[in-house]
């Protein structure tokens, strides 16, 4: 009996060593951890339960039969993050370069199926050289199976990808279909075709980092939602994100004890909006002053900075925030910001996370490049996302809410539950100057008259009261008491039930 127990331990020991000490050392020397070390950092200490430790591939071509490491290059299982269950797979670059075989894929599929059945998030730690070429089409089939499950699980359980090494070719499409992608700066990259192919096909010389590094994907392509300095920080931040997310789409957004007064008054917000309507201010100040304990988890911080997306807590419960940022492009909506916000709104709606929208939007960005690239359809994504969202929706207009952008941004007309405005709000079809030049075209030559007309228009519309008279704004509130008003609004919406008509699925303008 003892021998049998010992054999188990020996086999486990072998499996845990992955590709051997030499490869582990090589991994470490690059500032990278092993698959198992990463899981240790991701999960609560001692909570990991592994599946399929002894799975080995079945390939017999190209001498592969002599090389059958236990686990087959991926570690899978479940564990807890602050006591809440998550499923995890972690590719092991030290074992056959973390390449994906049929059995490797099967292991991932197993935990994904369990995650959907048991209603817990899936976190993938990606570090793989790609398809296992020796296996040929079996490997591709494996990818296909994983892709299918990404799609099936989408909107059922949160899926988070952390790119911690190479992720190239078809492999990128699994993370691409998850809810969030995070990267590690300087040690991870993602691309469909690598620098070598790029050079062969287009003669373009580009490094892997330039083509698909963390900076590229957080700032330019928006493929990644965030990037972190190193693996330890990345995994720590993923734990922090999971604390904001429900476990599945039937769960409510999580609540945790909070150390902040829901009625906290912030007198300084009274002066947040500058006297000059064209002077920018930092909307993040409002977000952090509204949030419990000033804690804000920003998503896509580096991309389309004219709109801010991320998570806060109010009275301990997660709330998704979408906010125009007057500091960048005056906070206008354009293709990038509309896409970024639309995806975020749909994530929140899919997972029952209430939405707080903070508005200071002068309109859509005009111009040829925007029109040529399809601002009409991209802008419609955000409109569509807000319109279909059935989660509690609370909105605060701090300053400008002009034109179509006013309607798009979670307006009353799109089923906004609470639409508040600060006294500094201006809700109008457009700015006073532009409006005057159209209404009083005949007086265009007379600057005195135009100035008078502009002042008249400002008096009439550069305020929240016309909208309030019509009930499009539910209440004009003091900036200083915004946290209290917003927190109470969400509290009153905790049992909100709203539905969309039955449909197979909608047809959002993709």
């Amino acid at each position: 009996m003892k021998d049998i127990l010992q054999e188990l331990e020996d086999r486990r020991g072998m499996a845990r060593l992955g590709g051997g000490q030499k490869r582990i050392d090589a991994q470490h020397s690059k500032g990278k951890l092993t698959a198992r070390e990463r899981i240790e950092l991701l999960l609560d200490e001692g909570s990991f339960e592994e599946f399929d430790m002894f799975v080995a591939h079945r390939c017999t071509d190209f001498g592969m039969e002599n090389q059958r490491p236990a686990g087959d290059g991926v570690v899978t299982g479940w564990g807890t993050i602050n006591g809440r269950m998550v499923y995890v797979f972690s590719q092991d670059f030290t074992v056959l370069g973390g390449s994906v075989s049929a059995t490797h894929a099967q292991k991932i599929c197993k935990i994904m199926d369990m995650a959907v059945e048991n209603g817990a998030p899936v976190i993938g730690l990606n570090d793989s050289g790609g398809a296992r070429i020796q296996e040929g089409v079996d490997s591709l089939a494996g990818y296909g199976e994983v892709f299918k499950r990404n799609i099936q699980a989408s909107g059922v359980v949160p899926q988070i990808s952390v790119i911690m090494g190479p992720c190239a070719g078809g492999a990128v499409y699994s993370p691409a279909m998850t809810d969030f992608i995070f990267m590690v700066k300087d040690s991870s990259y993602m691309f469909v075709t690598g620098p070598d192919v790029v050079k062969t096909v287009t003669n373009e010389v580009v490094t892997a980092e330039e083509l698909g590094g963390a900076s590229t994907h957080t700032k330019k392509s928006s493929v990644a939602d965030g990037a972190f300095e190193n693996e330890v920080e990345a995994l720590s931040e993923v734990r922090r994100l999971v604390d904001f997310l429900p476990l599945n789409n039937r769960d409510k957004a999580p609540v945790r004890p909070f150390f902040d007064e829901p009625g906290r008054v912030e007198a300084s917000l009274d002066t947040l909006v500058p006297d000059n309507p064209n002077t920018p201010y930092d909307m993040k100040e409002l977000i952090t002053k509204l949030a419990d304990e000033g804690d804000f988890y920003e998503i896509q911080e580096e991309f389309a900075k004219n709109i801010i997306t991320g998570f806060v807590r109010l009275e301990g419960q997660t709330v998704g925030v979408v906010a125009n940022q007057p500091m960048v492009l005056a906070g206008c909506l354009d293709i990038d910001s509309a896409r970024k916000a639309a995806r975020f709104v749909r994530f929140c709606d899919a997972f029952e996370i209430p939405l707080l929208t903070l508005i200071d939007v002068p309109g859509f960005l005009p111009g040829k490049s925007q029109e040529y690239d399809g601002i009409i359809k991209h802008g419609a994504k955000l409109l569509f996302a807000y319109g279909e969202a059935t989660v509690p929706k609370v909105t605060v207009i701090t300053r400008k809410a002009y034109g179509g952008a006013y309607v798009v941004m979670s307006s009353k007309h799109l089923r906004g539950d609470f639409n508040y405005a600060w006294p500094t709000a201006e809700i109008a079809v457009m700015g006073a100057k532009g409006a005057t030049e159209i209404i009083h075209r005949a007086d265009l030559g007379d600057s005195d008259k135009i100035a008078q007309h502009t002042a008249d228009y400002e008096d009439r519309f550069a305020n929240p009261f016309v909208a309030a008279e019509r009930g499009f704004v539910d209440e004009v509130i003091q900036p200083r008491s915004t946290r209290k008003r917003v927190a109470r609004a969400f509290a009153s919406l905790r049992n909100k039930k709203a539905q969309n008509p039955w449909k197979k699925h909608d047809n959002i303008p993709l």
């Binding site: 470490h28 690059k30 951890l33 070390e37 930092d282 100040e285 000033g294």
Partner: protein
């Protein structure tokens, strides 16, 4: 007594005057420019009058506008504060003509003390010690040596037309005087085309010490002891204290009496300040007289118990002084730290913008400690480009100098100020500097002790341990809270461990935290333990803790895996990790910040107006590289050394943030 006075000033001094006026039952009128519409002094005053656009030369110092405001409100007297119109004889005359009382000295005193040469002459005549020197023309080197001998070495040989150190020599002997005279003369001729030279006593180990005087219109004059203001940066006072750690009673008396003699000589009637330069042997020499309330007057108030603003108002009202010289005592020690909106890490570059957070320490006054904060700003207010960058004057008082300094350290730790760059860390560093704490200071203190600017503070191991212990205890609170989230798996909750590794300032401490109802006992690897108590909860930006009973006040921010902690001028990233996390973190590669020596960084948020160079171009030291417009001023950025431009990242019209890379060099 007046019913209503107008304060012809803004900011903290306007607020300061309003406070006393209110105490005396006098109504107050504030004036404000467009930039000060929401300012604190406007809010505090009973009435406020708008007087024009933001620049002071279109508002606060336009005599006609102030006169109109006086007329419109019926104010009977005007307190000018400091700066602006406070030492402008024309203003005082205009007031007199309008039959409005000037809360300050008579016009004649302002005029005679306003001129450097006249004031020195009057001072000499009044028996005030002045810097010995020879103002006449010096013929040749022999005469220069003779004069130098008469004055006594060391002497300073200066070009009459001089400036910026050119044509200036210090001589400690006859040979040096001879040599210095010749080279100064040559240099002066070359630099200024004017080779006139004069010689005066060179004051070694100079300290700036000033005497507060108070005189009435009935011929009474007293001195309220001295203030030491040696801690200056480019002639801008930063730290002041009263009394001076350097003066003895006889010097104090001599300085005080000479100051009163000067005040009497000019018929002074109000509060005034006589500034002296004092050398290492306690020889003191008159510099100038400020015929107004000084910025640093609170330290005098704190040690004498006299409200100087009240005295000024009473004197202006014609009352005789109610205190005599014998009533003036030195009670304890007071220190003032001036908080400036200047970024010490960027060579004290002025910083403007919104005060997103402004929470000064609570003002308090007990038998053993006083904290006083004179300010004109508020959270959510704006530091504008138009005026002095001073945010507040933080003062502490205690029975002894050491205690007053300690009170100041804690008050600085407690001062929350965000949104702009400010000199809080620098002030904290000065309060901990051994030369300051020992009182061994001169006006060259900052230039000598921080020759390459300020790079922050390194804490010693004992201080690091106190912070590490607190961070471990605080982290435990935060981690336990995280385990209380909804949706947990019953019976499989996370247990938060007792052992942690805290890393900060390149040091690592393995600790074990044993928490109880009142706090935590944190034990280090070497067996030493610290008792941490305090009611910090997650999200609090100020941790008011005690470590082994001694206060530790920290500004706390969140970073990944730990805290940003600011304390005593240090700005630390503090990571608190489990032993396993700490072990694995060893594999992480330390990423060195990019080498910025070959880059041109944007020194302030601004707009690129013009780029003057191209990629591949060789540039010489001092050559203009580009122009950045910030705070409505065009700043030309120049090459620090010779080099070749390898990359340009910005073009005209781009708006850049601080530290954005404008261009790189090969």
């Amino acid at each position: 007594m007046f019913d209503k006075i107008l304060i012809a000033n803004r900011g903290e001094i306007a607020c300061r005057v309003i406070k006393t006026a209110r105490k005396m039952g006098i109504k107050t009128v504030a004036i404000y420019s467009d930039a000060d519409r929401n300012a604190l002094h406007v809010e505090m005053a009973d009435e406020a009058v708008h007087i024009g656009p933001p620049p002071a030369n279109q508002s606060y110092i336009v005599i006609d506008k102030v006169m109109e405001a006086i007329k419109a409100t019926g104010a009977q007297a005007v307190h000018p504060g400091y700066g602006f119109l406070s030492e402008n004889p024309k203003f005082a005359q205009s007031l007199a003509a309008a039959n409005v009382t000037f809360i300050g000295p008579p016009v004649g005193a302002i005029e005679s003390m306003g001129d450097k040469i006249t004031s020195k002459k009057i001072a000499q005549e009044a028996g005030v010690s002045t810097v010995p020197g020879y103002m006449g023309l010096i013929e040749d080197a022999d005469e220069a040596v003779k004069i130098s001998q008469q004055i006594g070495y060391p002497v300073m040989i200066k070009a009459s037309a001089g400036g910026g150190g050119k044509g200036m020599r210090i001589a400690w002997s006859d040979e040096e005087a001879r040599e210095g005279f010749q080279s100064s003369k040559n240099e002066a001729a070359n630099s200024f085309g004017d080779d006139r030279i004069f010689i005066e006593k060179f004051v070694t180990q100079p300290r700036h010490i000033e005497i507060q005087v108070l005189a009435d219109a009935h011929g009474n004059c007293i001195y309220l002891n001295e203030r030491e203001c040696s801690i200056q940066r480019r002639n801008q006072k930063v730290v002041e204290e009263a009394p001076s750690p350097f003066l003895d009673e006889s010097t104090r008396k001599a300085m005080g009496e000479q100051s009163c003699a000067l005040a009497k000589a000019v018929g002074y009637a109000s509060a005034g300040t006589v500034e002296f330069i004092v050398d290492g042997d306690r020889n003191f020499y008159f510099l100038e007289m400020n015929t107004r309330l000084q910025v640093e007057h609170p330290v005098t108030e704190l040690i004498t118990g006299v409200d100087l603003v009240e005295q000024m108002i009473r004197v202006a009202n014609g009352e005789p002084l109610s205190i005599t010289q014998d009533d003036v005592k030195i009670n304890g020690w007071a220190i003032e730290n001036r908080l400036y909106a200047e970024d010490p890490y960027r060579n004290f570059l002025p910083s403007i913008g919104r005060l997103t957070r402004y929470r000064p320490p609570a003002e308090e006054a007990t038998e053993t400690a006083v904290v006083r904060n004179d300010t004109g700003v508020f959270e959510g207010g704006e530091i504008s480009m138009y005026y002095d960058p001073m945010i507040a004057k933080l003062c502490t008082w205690a029975p002894t100098r050491a205690d007053a300094i300690e009170e100041m350290r804690i008050a600085l730790d407690r001062f929350e100020l965000e949104g702009i760059g400010h000199n809080l860390p620098f002030l904290a560093a000065v309060m901990d500097h051994p030369k300051f704490t020992s009182g061994d200071i001169t006006t060259a203190f900052i230039a000598e002790e921080y020759p390459d600017g300020f790079q922050g503070v390194e804490l010693n191991e004992a201080e690091l341990r106190r912070i590490a212990a607190s961070a471990a205890a605080m982290n435990r609170v935060a981690e336990i809270r995280r385990t209380k989230i909804s949706g947990r798996m019953d019976n499989h909750e996370r247990r938060v461990g007792d052992n942690w590794v805290v890393s900060l300032q390149g040091e690592k401490f393995a600790v074990s935290v044993a928490a109880d109802a009142n706090g935590s006992t944190v034990t280090f690897e070497d067996g030493a333990s610290l008792r941490v108590e305090g009611d910090w909860t997650p999200g609090m930006m100020l941790a008011d803790m005690t470590v082994d009973g001694a206060p530790l006040v920290m500004k706390v921010g969140k970073i990944t895996g730990g805290f940003r902690i600011r304390n005593r001028g240090a700005d630390l990233k503090v990571h608190v990790r489990s032993p396993r996390q700490s072990e694995l973190a060893l594999h992480m590669i330390e990423k060195l910040p990019p080498d910025t020596s070959k880059m041109l960084l944007c020194p302030m948020p601004g707009l690129i107006v013009k780029v003057d160079v191209e990629v591949g171009q060789e540039v010489q030291e001092g050559q203009a590289l580009c122009t950045v417009e910030a705070m409505k001023m065009e700043n030309i950025l120049r090459a620090e050394r010779k080099g070749v431009v390898s990359k340009i990242n910005a073009a005209a019209g781009d708006s850049l943030a601080v530290d954005d890379i404008i261009m790189e060099f090969e």
